[in-house]
């Protein structure tokens, strides 16, 4: 298959692995930001093909994992209302809130629907003028343009029955939070290719300079990751700290400028709480004042709901790369994909779920 098979060839993978073995002289800890990358690394067994000196630590780039527990409780409170059609991407439906998840709200009669695009939710609102349609707008910069477009369209259409429950988060502030922590062990970042498709990579340049840390924008196929790791190790071994782009077939330095303009029109930067990590200043988006009518938290008055995390879960340390899933006493025992205690076990992109499903227990 074109554009897939080229990045799955075993002979090419072996060449990169040999090249990585030649370049490595010392132990290094590299963080892949994105959960999709964690998934590929484990699914294709790349972590087991690399030399022992290379440690991959798994980053916070899983939108399901970092969405705060209370936001899920708020989603559930809204979805229970009889007038509401609650729409969401598939993998948010199974994330447990304090007591419940959205799938069980659906099982008890709530109108919860999986959609593939926030624009489908806008269409639902047009088709069902007597119902309130809410879209669960979570994610990183990657999903922000789609969500911004949905709100913008709803405003153009004059829809009174569409709103979003939003908790958008941003990558660069999270990287700075990790680098600024006294217990940080990350020496280089594989930046998330999809995020950079939208945002470009110019905003990483000051981070590379300030913290003297190499950053390689990396794609998601096995050969992308192997090449990204190879480029990273070349920088680390040579003592360089630059922003490089492995994912050239999708990412430009400036990113997708029209998408960025649309985001800026609808959203503004705000402080955000990250599940497991806590509040990071200026690390997310909220709707601008002129779009406040589309804010589901205000429309349904659920903003005051708060929630308490399981004391056993060490998601925060895992999301910051301080611990591996198997360092957790609940991993695979009290916490499994059927009964997750924390979000990294729920999402298929979560590090704990990847370790569990692919036998890294």
């Amino acid at each position: 298959m074109k554009y897939i098979d080229e990045y799955h060839r075993e002979a090419d993978a072996q060449k990169f692995i040999a090249a990585i073995q030649r370049v490595v002289t010392r132990p290094w800890a590299i963080m892949e930001i994105c959960g999709g990358q964690t998934h590929t690394l484990i699914k294709f067994g790349i972590d087991r093909l690399l030399p022992q000196q290379v440690t991959l630590v798994h980053g916070p780039g899983c939108p399901v994992c970092v969405t705060p527990l209370e936001l899920i409780d708020r989603a559930i409170a809204i979805a229970r209302r009889p007038e509401v059609i609650f729409t969401s991407f598939g993998d948010m439906l199974r994330v447990p809130g304090s007591r419940d998840d959205l799938l069980s709200v659906k099982a008890r009669g709530g109108d919860v629907r999986m959609v593939y695009s926030p624009l489908d939710a806008v269409k639902l609102a047009q088709k069902n003028p007597e119902r309130q349609v809410v879209f669960f707008a979570v994610g990183f910069e990657t999903t922000a343009p789609g969500n911004a477009m949905a709100v913008w369209q709803a405003k153009q259409l004059g829809l009174q029955n569409f709103s979003i429950l939003t908790s958008h988060v941003l990558v660069p502030p999270a990287m700075e939070a990790i680098l600024g922590s006294p217990s940080n062990r990350v020496q280089g970042f594989l930046a998330a290719g999809h995020v950079c498709t939208v945002m470009g990579y110019w905003e990483y340049e000051p981070i590379a300079t300030k913290y003297r840390v190499p950053i390689v924008v990396t794609g998601f196929e096995p050969l992308d990751l192997l090449q990204g790791i190879y480029m990273m190790l070349q920088q680390l071994e040579a003592g360089r700290a630059q922003v490089e782009n492995q994912y050239t077939r999708a990412v430009k330095r400036a990113g997708n400028v029209p998408a960025q303009k649309l985001i800026a029109q609808v959203f503004e930067v705000t402080d955000r709480k990250w599940r497991g990590i806590g509040e990071i200043p200026r690390s997310g988006y909220r709707l601008r004042e002129e779009f406040a009518a589309f804010d589901a938290e205000k429309r349904f008055d659920v903003g005051s709901l708060t929630a308490q995390e399981s004391p056993l879960c060490i998601a925060g340390q895992i999301l910051q790369g301080l611990k591996k899933p198997r360092d957790c006493s609940a991993f695979g025992t009290k916490c499994t994909p059927e009964h997750p205690l924390g979000a990294p076990m729920v999402s298929s992109e979560g590090a704990c779920a990847a370790y569990f499903s692919y036998g890294r227990a």
Partner: protein, 365 residues
């Protein structure tokens, strides 16, 4: 009364017309939809049975309209299986709930190494179901049963209130005969055996998904639902008792079925990802939706675990059959890691292939 009815009560000529699916014999003008009374056991129920079901499924065992069918069974091993069908939508690219309900139970029997002898059919209809839809489903069941050469000998019909069903649910059960030299069971997988499949995986699941509400995407994909009794008979002809396990990897896909086999035989299974047949259209859809084809449902596909010395013969027998042109050897049974399935990825890394937890849900990004 419509012409179709008058002819439906007639002899052979009407039967032929019905079998060709030309016209629904229930007077649509009078009953364009299923009503609760169609399941009430009274006149309308009788009308469905006499006008629609009996002429469609016509066979001696059914003709008596007794509470059950009385069958002559040869004194051999019997296989007995049942399956319920709730697929949505009921008509999908490449098939419908009727053909699926016949193929599903025929295939469950085939996976026991059995030749299907007779089927039952129980319908749960939702009030308001268009009579024409029921007619299409019944004709599809009969066409599928006739192609297999298995009669539908007994049945039941219930109607539930509107909103309490989803158009039509079908349960079929079937009885099959197993030849004396056949011993097929999941527990018989043993180290050294070879794992084969008769073609590309995940086609049915993706074809169904492509027409679900809210998820329509354009694809030429058709469900590969098909009866497997014939290709299985060919495999058993060439390898006999050296065929150790037969399974159709329906819900939960290839990964879940192989995990079940590994657990029940207490053996390990190793797959080679590069050898698993996968169509480009299916692979593309899985990439876009973030689904793993190893966990997507199949129809018309089966796994054969056979003694190594018979593997090439079985592969050749599969490939010689229209339902096995893309057959492949995809893995082997090993003594190591009992109960676990490992996969060698396309780039050479190893990982565990686990059972699926819950439903596979598409990812955010």
């Amino acid at each position: 009364m419509a012409d179709g009815i008058a002819e439906g009560q007639g002899g052979k000529k009407a039967g032929e017309q019905l079998a060709m699916g030309l016209q629904c014999p229930i007077p649509i003008s009078e009953y364009p939809h299923i009503t609760l009374a169609h399941g009430g056991g009274g006149r309308l129920t009788q009308m469905l049975i006499e006008k629609m079901f009996v002429p469609s499924f016509a066979n001696p065992a059914l003709q008596t309209l007794h509470d059950g069918a009385i069958l002559d069974a040869p004194s051999v091993h019997l296989a007995f299986s049942t399956d319920s069908f709730v697929v949505h939508p009921i008509f999908f690219p490449g098939g419908d709930i009727g053909s699926l309900a016949v193929h599903g139970t025929v295939n469950d029997l085939a996976m026991c190494g059995a030749r299907p002898l007779a089927l039952s059919s129980a319908l749960i209809l939702e009030e308001g179901l268009p009579m024409q839809d029921l007619w299409r489903v019944i004709q599809s069941m009969q066409n599928a049963a006739r192609a297999v050469g298995v009669p539908i000998v007994t049945g039941d019909t219930k109607v539930v209130d509107r909103g309490k069903g989803d158009g039509v649910f079908i349960n079929t059960a079937g009885i099959g005969v197993i030849s004396p030299n056949i011993r097929v069971a999941p527990t018989r997988a043993q180290p050294g055996d070879v794992v084969l499949i008769n073609g590309a995986i995940a086609v049915h699941g993706i074809a169904i998904m492509s027409v679900r509400e809210g998820l329509e995407f354009e694809t030429a994909l058709q469900s590969d639902s098909a009866p497997l009794h014939d290709i299985v008979a060919r495999v058993l002809d060439v390898a006999g008792e050296r065929v150790h396990v037969l399974r159709d990897p329906t819900r939960g896909g290839l990964a879940s079925t192989l995990n079940e086999i590994a657990a029940s035989a207490k053996v390990g299974i190793r797959l080679n990802e590069a050898q698993i047949p996968l169509d480009d259209a299916v692979r593309g859809a899985c990439e876009i939706l973030g689904l793993d084809p190893l966990y997507v449902a199949n129809e018309g596909k089966f796994l054969a675990i056979v003694a190594r010395e018979s593997a090439e013969q079985v592969l050749a027998a599969m490939r010689a059959h229209p339902l096995g042109k893309a057959a492949a050897i995809i893995g082997e049974v090993v003594a190591e890691h009992p109960g676990k399935v490992y996969l060698r990825s396309r780039i050479g890394g190893m990982r565990v292939v686990d059972m699926l937890s819950g439903e596979q849900l598409p990812r955010i990004c």
